[in-house]
Symmetry: D2
Subunit: 385 residues, 4 copies
Amino acid sequence: MKRKLRMGMIGGGKGAFIGAVHRLAANMDGLIELSAGALSEINDIAIESGKMLFLPEDRTYTSYEEMIEKESKLPEDVRIDFVSIVTPNFVHFAPAMMALEHGFNVVIEKPMTFNLDEAKQLKQKVDETGLLLCLTHTYSGYPMVKQAKQMVAEGALGKIRKVWVEYPQGWLSKLTEREGNMQAAWRTDPTKSGKAGAMGDIGTHAAHLAEYITGKKITHLCADLNVMVEGRRLDDDGNVLLKMEDGVHGVLMASQVAAGEENALKIRVYGEKGGLEWAQQEPNTLIVRWLDKPTEILRTGTPWVGSYARFNARTPGGHPEGYLEAFANIYRNFALTLSAKIEGTEPPKEALDFPRVEEGIRGMAFIDNVVASGQSDVKWTENKV
Amino acid sequence: MKRKLRMGMIGGGKGAFIGAVHRLAANMDGLIELSAGALSEINDIAIESGKMLFLPEDRTYTSYEEMIEKESKLPEDVRIDFVSIVTPNFVHFAPAMMALEHGFNVVIEKPMTFNLDEAKQLKQKVDETGLLLCLTHTYSGYPMVKQAKQMVAEGALGKIRKVWVEYPQGWLSKLTEREGNMQAAWRTDPTKSGKAGAMGDIGTHAAHLAEYITGKKITHLCADLNVMVEGRRLDDDGNVLLKMEDGVHGVLMASQVAAGEENALKIRVYGEKGGLEWAQQEPNTLIVRWLDKPTEILRTGTPWVGSYARFNARTPGGHPEGYLEAFANIYRNFALTLSAKIEGTEPPKEALDFPRVEEGIRGMAFIDNVVASGQSDVKWTENKV
Amino acid sequence: MKRKLRMGMIGGGKGAFIGAVHRLAANMDGLIELSAGALSEINDIAIESGKMLFLPEDRTYTSYEEMIEKESKLPEDVRIDFVSIVTPNFVHFAPAMMALEHGFNVVIEKPMTFNLDEAKQLKQKVDETGLLLCLTHTYSGYPMVKQAKQMVAEGALGKIRKVWVEYPQGWLSKLTEREGNMQAAWRTDPTKSGKAGAMGDIGTHAAHLAEYITGKKITHLCADLNVMVEGRRLDDDGNVLLKMEDGVHGVLMASQVAAGEENALKIRVYGEKGGLEWAQQEPNTLIVRWLDKPTEILRTGTPWVGSYARFNARTPGGHPEGYLEAFANIYRNFALTLSAKIEGTEPPKEALDFPRVEEGIRGMAFIDNVVASGQSDVKWTENKV
Amino acid sequence: MKRKLRMGMIGGGKGAFIGAVHRLAANMDGLIELSAGALSEINDIAIESGKMLFLPEDRTYTSYEEMIEKESKLPEDVRIDFVSIVTPNFVHFAPAMMALEHGFNVVIEKPMTFNLDEAKQLKQKVDETGLLLCLTHTYSGYPMVKQAKQMVAEGALGKIRKVWVEYPQGWLSKLTEREGNMQAAWRTDPTKSGKAGAMGDIGTHAAHLAEYITGKKITHLCADLNVMVEGRRLDDDGNVLLKMEDGVHGVLMASQVAAGEENALKIRVYGEKGGLEWAQQEPNTLIVRWLDKPTEILRTGTPWVGSYARFNARTPGGHPEGYLEAFANIYRNFALTLSAKIEGTEPPKEALDFPRVEEGIRGMAFIDNVVASGQSDVKWTENKV
């Protein structure tokens, strides 16, 4: 890369959670600078947040429309290269579409949009413009998740038979949305979050991870979605049977009422020759069980992992890389790919591996289908896009 | 107890797996002596096995019919107190029924019978005779499983919301039944095992554990049963959604093609106030996660566990008790209960807690219903008994 | 074996801890029967304990002298084959010596005697009589400890460089001996326990384990022994630097004031090519780290362990074997060896592997030398026998 | 903070390990910008590295002398605020001293200098100038290490009795320094590393951690230092008995020949009421064992940790923070403290907690004393400064 890329952030003002995470991730590798921001709809917060982040005043905007408009008129060597959209779900589509229409690349939080139709429109716009859209399915940024994917792709496990992916959290075990928790409030509000609660917020991560590692698409769902906390308006717990391509069967669990759990995403994949286990809370370990030899422990930063895991780690074995590094990998790969595009070069193939608009569509379809399945008396619902 | 109880074993000759386990378990506490045996249908093996076990020649029988007949004619202070039936599933019912009819108490392997009808007949005979029938659902013998049950019963977790029970094994990842593995051969043969494979062999353990700990019955099932290894005749893998009494939802997984897994039964139970996690392969630890305070680690043999866990442990904390001790707890509790009955005393309430004929019926019904659900296009199948 | 071996127990009456453990261990495999007992010096307890254990009245003795005398006069096919001595340290030597003098084999708790001189006398008597003496260093009975020893012996790790053995317990963190705890009372009393506290009680286990696995003797010690709890009369905590044969260096730690710890014996051994880690509280796992390939997890009961680990396990992988099974392995190997001797046959070589009088002498010398080192200002004290 | 702080880096050019880590850590929170660099002594590498890091050409220097000279003449609102020294040990003192003399604050790698005398000179200069010197003892930046320190300081464990700190690595198990490994080459070279090998490189981290958490100084040492790999010129393995203030005893182990280990720093601290365990490879967990209640698991980002742990975490529980975040905490706390100084405000008390020149002196004294002890026949060597 010849220069840092310039980022304009939409959302993520003072008090927001995921916006801060995006900035930490974007900062880490020194490839991206925060150059502009429309950090809040509320003017005072937007301005105060801009100061805290050392943004120049004239690039601290009070709406994304203003930012996109004005930035698009700045000289090419000054204006932002991409926007990063970290607002609640119902404010994803409009800024993303407007950014694309004004020639800006897009980084966007998942789920990509409020509904499937919006997702398809974004896809069409991305295809038209040839711009990049990067969807921050963080967990696919972990080195050991990359390793799992590479091992499966290279056939180390033989034909895949079974996937178990579980995502228990406990933070919505009470009616937290009525206790002043902003994160809880919009996530449990169907007008802001969309038609699913836990399934949209974390179920989509689980579904993405299952498809990412196995390379197989989920074709059918059988969902049992529940509202466990009285008074809640969206599912806070769900168990889903899965059929995937090529005869893979599985289970997906997502719960936000698993009291006492933090963020315990975990996946196991079994094939004819062995099985993989990866848990997000101990992310630098990939347990590989074999049918015909002792279990092996693969670790981030050690010499025995493949090119994707190596490319996405920054330190040698035993120096734990965490959630922010996984997130930073998404940004870094996006930045390397975008830079190469700008500079007319070819990025390393490992850098091309980040979630894009297609994954965003699959996520929105999953939400539609899992909710439909939850309401159906028939066992299997097709996971159609 | 004033004397050791006398056991006559049916099955479990040389080369058998589970029979040896029963003997180890029965021996451990010095409360039971192996007094007679019909250890094999094959005369030579029966006799050789008797010698290896130091049985007197005249009580080494070559059929269970002979044993039950002859033992029933021995003087009361010589003849066996109970039979222990450790044969394959299709040879459970007849010896159990004959033993009961001749006044012998029964310890019997799970699943209790070959089909639900046999199970109901046994129940009727047990009710008629007032004899004891003990079903060896081993895993409910672990101290930390008892602790989990007691905590749930005492309301420590509040209302229960969710159960996640999984039982992956990998030993049937190939067509092992055609490679001379006797265990595999009968377990995958519908004429010997019954209508279910993995669901009968280990799914029943998982279902029992879920009901045992929560105190809630499984009311509805939605099963996806699979044959993953080509040429196999019974399910070797299954994922099942559960509805249980009082609004508990859950998932049960049982697989014998989870390549590389040993015997990784694990259960998690979540309530309003916290969650429990217990894994059979590290059985002396019960992880207790709380909604409003740090996670606690409860351990076998420590002072902070309840009366049931204490009653079922033999050593102080840090002296790991394992599978055989859990199995021995079933035998010990049965023996204490039976002795008390014989001697006209009252056993400690903790000793009364072992699986009985009712659990056997529930297991057989589960097999029927889970197989029916697996074949159904409707989402929910009632788990009727 | 053609018959069960007959055991006479010395000590281990009602309320004792380790006597009960010995019985559980001796019972488990059905190779040994408890035939006689001098279970307590207190007549009433001896008699009551005999009843609880279903001993015949005429073989329930009230002193070990009486037992040894009378048993030695019983017919050969009735009298005990061996004594099991489970009394406090200061009552080890006399019954052991008397048993040997009357032709009885001996199983004895560690540390073998009250002082080194007694140990040497026992050795001489064992040599004279050709009888077997088995010392119950339990931890060497674990399958994965056997596996570790076998791997080191076979050179899997290359030349051994470093040993780190630690044994933290917390149960003496207060002045427990003054609070009615019988176990604590004699163990902290120099007239009953000997010249060392923690180093005698658990340090000897750690030292034995280090020598057992590596096959190298400890040649020099540098000890820092402490009394952490005011008012205690013997060391309750110690850290010891080790030099071992062939350039191995190490550390041995033993503490009974590591508040909150249960029985956390753990050993790590590093060689040129890799390292081993085994922890008693998760005893079925042996972690094998390699210099040039991924870490492997070896497990009890799996096909990839050596002949010693296989010989000392009763169940397939995933059926945890614990402390009592390890203890039972000591008894079983002793029983197989003794039976073979009686019957004039050759036991399997794996059965010959149990601790004997030589290990007992090394333990007593370790106690002498570690205490001397603790009192010395010179860095290294020779670990002379 | 009103503006980002400006950093000039000394060392850390292309191919260096720790320099890259410093930049990642400094970048992460967006509080620091890399404004200048003397990244290598080799002109080409310095220049190429500057480009890769998007440094302006005119602030890409080819020696630290040049950088310090020229930067000190730039206007106050342009010139760097501090230097970050990431060179090998023998090039620590001169640039640090020169920076201080020119009015620049200093961040510096450990061990702080090449010998104790240099360390004392730096201390004097820091005292004279009132400038800040921050020593990057990374591991004290972890939230759960802060939590451990705070719990000990607040008396949660009662009087501290025992410390065990161990730091096994395996990367020098062969004569790696002769195989082209630059890191190994200077670290094992006494003219570049100083008088200690493993004890200087990682033993100092272990010693710092022990003193940091307990708040007690190491007063006496008894060291067994070894060269395990033939041909190596500095210790690659050592075991050290410790006496600390107020009757605390302990052990410190540091090894770079623990084959197969990654970076397995671990510390346990026991007091009268309980014990703490923290392992760097699972850094978000602090195990707290209690004498009188169940073990608790404290976790980064959960509500039950103290103010220091909270201040030093960026994400909620279950989003693992790792080595880079710990490193970033050192930089962030230094930056907050330096900014407050510049702006005449008071930083949060938690920000003041980063290692300084005093810790650097203690580290250098530890190296002197541990080497002296290793060569001594007397048991205890005073750890004098």
